[in-house]
């Protein structure tokens, strides 16, 4: 605990969260290469040693700050195969609707991934893992990674369009209108014909 500041400061999980928020903002604003640990520390109001203590290197900090703003395992528990398309779309949209902080985190995550190959590589792993969690109770053959990734492309495009770029027809629709429209497309990725190369 050598790097831990003394006195009445935010508890360890509070400081950790503050560092992650500052890191997300800084990576998103400056890109991975130009963001420094020192700047993140100063924005989070902590000693740089504390960042090293929690996350080790700058790459460790990047990796921790690129976590998805929800737990995919929890979010997609109990999906039923025949209604998977609509259920998945409804649950994803509900998370975004109810959690403005998750939306901001998602924008930061996309900007960072677009700024640097290393960040894109981490995001790739995070997304592929999250998508596979969704499907593992439903499909387990060799088409599963492609199906999971296809669902990811649709959900990623939908949330980008609704919450970030705010394309009018998508941003103005109700959650249930989008569930009805997009659910069948996602259902097609769950159980429609898909050939894995």
């Amino acid at each position: 605990m050598s790097g831990r500041p003394k006195g009445r400061r935010p508890g360890s999980s509070g400081a950790r969260e503050q560092i992650l928020r500052a890191a997300r903002d800084t990576f998103a604003e400056l890109g991975y290469d130009r963001a420094s640990m020192r700047l993140v520390a100063s924005r989070a109001g902590v000693d740089p040693a504390l960042i090293h203590h929690y996350f080790g290197t700058k790459e460790g900090l990047l990796q921790a700050s690129l976590r998805l703003p929800f737990d995919p395992e929890e979010l997609f528990a109990g999906i039923t195969p025949g209604q998977a398309g609509e259920q998945i779309v409804r649950r994803i949209l509900t998370v975004w609707e109810e959690n403005p902080a998750a939306r901001q985190q998602y924008v930061a995550l996309m900007r960072t991934a677009l700024s640097n190959e290393q960040a894109a590589a981490i995001m790739r792993t995070v997304l592929a893992g999250a998508a596979l969690h969704v499907l593992e109770s439903i499909v387990s053959d060799r088409t599963a990674p492609l199906r999971a990734a296809l669902i990811g492309t649709q959900l990623g495009g939908l949330t980008l369009g609704r919450y970030v770029i705010k394309v009018p027809a998508i941003a103005d629709a109700s959650v249930e209108e989008l569930v009805a429209a997009v659910g069948p497309a996602v259902q097609h990725y769950v159980d429609g014909p898909v050939v894995a190369g």
Copy 2:
């Protein structure tokens, strides 16, 4: 033509393209707010007056630099309603496959749109217009804007996943595998049940 430099310089369309390339890189790297006309001029190797001559204000430059790297009207000419899903996916992917410059431009465009509300607003208009072009020969009722936007979310997510984030199952698939897998989902947005609110 007052701002036009004399002598043997790149022709007007050459200089214009050079400015747009420098603008895209600069907006993507620094975001709209921190990118200056002076820096874009210096990177393009032209006099700042030439940028004002071609594009007027910084916002005019942003608008011109956010054009899609293809002409949607041309790209989607002669789509047949019953095969629209597969045709649209095949044509979009073919543009990206054959044109690495278009891919880079797309990344820059997404990064800029994610960095600034003004840039997002322009991208919104550009994307909505492009998507409507695709559909106008096929659907013309009041569901058309939502259908077009839904197709946009799927194509945007697919191209991001394949060319930018490079999610393995999507990046490794052949164009025809993706056409077969994603075509039916896009076809659903063209003629499946969709309720516009």
